[in-house]
Symmetry: C2
Subunit: 283 residues, 2 copies
Amino acid sequence: MKLKRSSRLVDMTGFLLRHPRKVISLSYFSDRYGSAKSSISEDLAIIKENFESMGVGRLQTLAGATGGVTYVPFMARVEAEQLLDGLKEQMTQKDRLLPGGYLYMTDILGEPKYVNAIGRLIASVYVNEKIDVIMTMETKGIPIAYAVASECNVPMVIVRRSSKVTEGPTVSMNYISGSSKRIQTMVLPRRSLREYTRVLIVDDFMKAGGTMKGMMNLLKEFGAALAGMAVFVEKKDEQPKLVDHYTSLLKLSMTEQDNTLKIENGNVMDQLPNIGMRSEAPD
Amino acid sequence: MKLKRSSRLVDMTGFLLRHPRKVISLSYFSDRYGSAKSSISEDLAIIKENFESMGVGRLQTLAGATGGVTYVPFMARVEAEQLLDGLKEQMTQKDRLLPGGYLYMTDILGEPKYVNAIGRLIASVYVNEKIDVIMTMETKGIPIAYAVASECNVPMVIVRRSSKVTEGPTVSMNYISGSSKRIQTMVLPRRSLREYTRVLIVDDFMKAGGTMKGMMNLLKEFGAALAGMAVFVEKKDEQPKLVDHYTSLLKLSMTEQDNTLKIENGNVMDQLPNIGMRSEAPD
């Protein structure tokens, strides 16, 4: 069918948003809309201008016969700051403190409006990295890891605490939890990671980093490579950390005596690359 | 700032896609773009026409002083058929059969291109229902449940097999697994569901439906209401089913003797409402 520019813009915008980090050839759009490639290029220039000025992401165009375009989601700095501020406000509500100095954040980890944004921010930090797979440990971190996988348009694999009959042959590994010093087990299906795969590890919470370190070691068993590590919340006073070079969105400190908690930014704002996008927030 | 129509169309499309099932007032867009409401209405007419002809979803407009617009994601029938065909092809690959007659589908459950589409199809079945929360049982069903929650723009809660110190007070319940007849436990944080909440239960796999039935009973403990039940794959020959009125995308039958499996459509195509959208697939 032949579409007018206005309708092409609507459709291309949706199409690009649904296919992040994939090269879409100009011929594909040209066939889809029955339009000349020159018109498609003009459409893409309009979309690029808008995505970059509104802080939605970059549109990378490849010129030449194999000409194509890739939408790379990216969160502008100002939106990232707003997200962290909103999360800090949510998380310092008094009724989140649990006995033993734990923090209730299960609701936030199941709320798409937060989780999708958290996923977009983590993906933005690794915007210049080649990522093949997102890995997480069951259970609470799965939604965030899945949101990152969606933004990066790559599969997610879930490390489990015991092997399941539905997962076929598995690789199992013991590791020592950094804070409790207990021996724990992690299990991953044999066929879920190939050699040389570049893996971004994502989790919801990190104390000393024992689980993170365990997952790093598990990667070695598969001959896979570590592309990065990101956590939603790290506990500040837990020292020494067993891992370094990780990204954290928030940093939590808690005084068990008077049950007060403090949440500040993690290192994410320092790690967010400057990709020269204008920085108005999309909403 | 003042935006031209072409740029408004790009931005509004992205904005609506990021905020499904929410009423956005015309004033909001009018302020956002410094444009008259009449221009915004014209933009929305273009977007509506495109979304409906390309099978992206409906755009419902509310006229009057409180005028607004809601984007409701919906999967066109032809795209739903394509999705099911693609999944059936993937899942009948020979190396998915595991000893004991189990099926390996962990990879599919972690692949955003499938999971997002599965989530959109399930949300489409319940497009005319009021849904407040998506509920699932850990672990493998979480990505699909999260994708449904994203499409419905509502929170997801995860039922767990044992209580965790990070979740505060919980409600715990024993139930009998329909196929193995074993007593199992399910646990949900006390504060994760309010009374009268309408819950859509989503899971990856159903044999006799014991887990589903357990979750139905758990809802009663919270005074919450069942809005629907959906599973990705149901096992065909497991009889009798402990639940009825559920949606299934695929139906699996397996012969353990010669290890052959057959996958056919579940009842989802019968349950997908006819909302009068034109039915070209977005891809």
